[in-house]
């Protein structure tokens, strides 16, 4: 699974730290998602979607291998 989290973050001009604080997770979680090392739960994906005002599908994308 790929994601545009880093791009969305850049658009909003918000740091990993600040995003993590707003969503209520650790900065490691945000960092690992951006590095494609961690697939977030549906709950976290929905929270991110709500925060950025975009649908989950716009932020997270399936890859061939999935």
């Amino acid at each position: 699974m790929k994601n545009n989290l880093k791009v969305e973050r850049a658009i909003k001009n918000i740091t990993q730290e600040e995003l993590a604080r707003q969503i209520g997770v650790t900065r490691q979680a945000i960092n690992s998602i951006e590095l494609n090392k961690y697939v977030p739960s549906t709950i976290l994906a929905l929270k991110l979607s709500a925060y950025f005002g975009k649908t989950v599908n716009e932020i997270f994308l399936l890859e061939e291998a999935d």
Binding site: G24, V25, T26, R27, S32, I43, L44
Partner: protein, 159 residues
Amino acid sequence: MKTQLLFPFRFKRIGWMLLIPSAILGFFVIFFNFQASFLDCQVFAAYSGATGWLSENKAGIIENNITDEIAAILFIIGALLVAFSKEKQEDEFIAKTRLESLVWAVYVNYAILALCILLFYNMGFLTVMIINMFTILIFFIIRFYYILYRNKKSLGHEK
């Protein structure tokens, strides 16, 4: 997301305060046969036969030095609190790290035990078994905190 079956964060400090002294005490008990003489007392034993299992029934009150019992119980309580107290900021990523570390610790623990089964005999193996009662928690704690530390370190100052 609610994480079940974990102690509150504040128990972690209590855990370390129990784990460190009991680990030091346990070390001296195992390797130097340390026994504090004032801890000689009478205890109830469900079974205390010296030879084979149930070959001689010795249930009842027996004389025993409880230094090792105290060290073991305090270590177990301390290590459980350190291992399974929530982090200051607990989230699903930490939960995943915890679960992976637990699987890793079980594998490593039994790999080392299997090796020890082949290499240690008689009283040496008894010592291995005594230590093995605690290693699963020790391996877990080392691995879990190492991964958290490595993650934190790799964050750097990138935006």
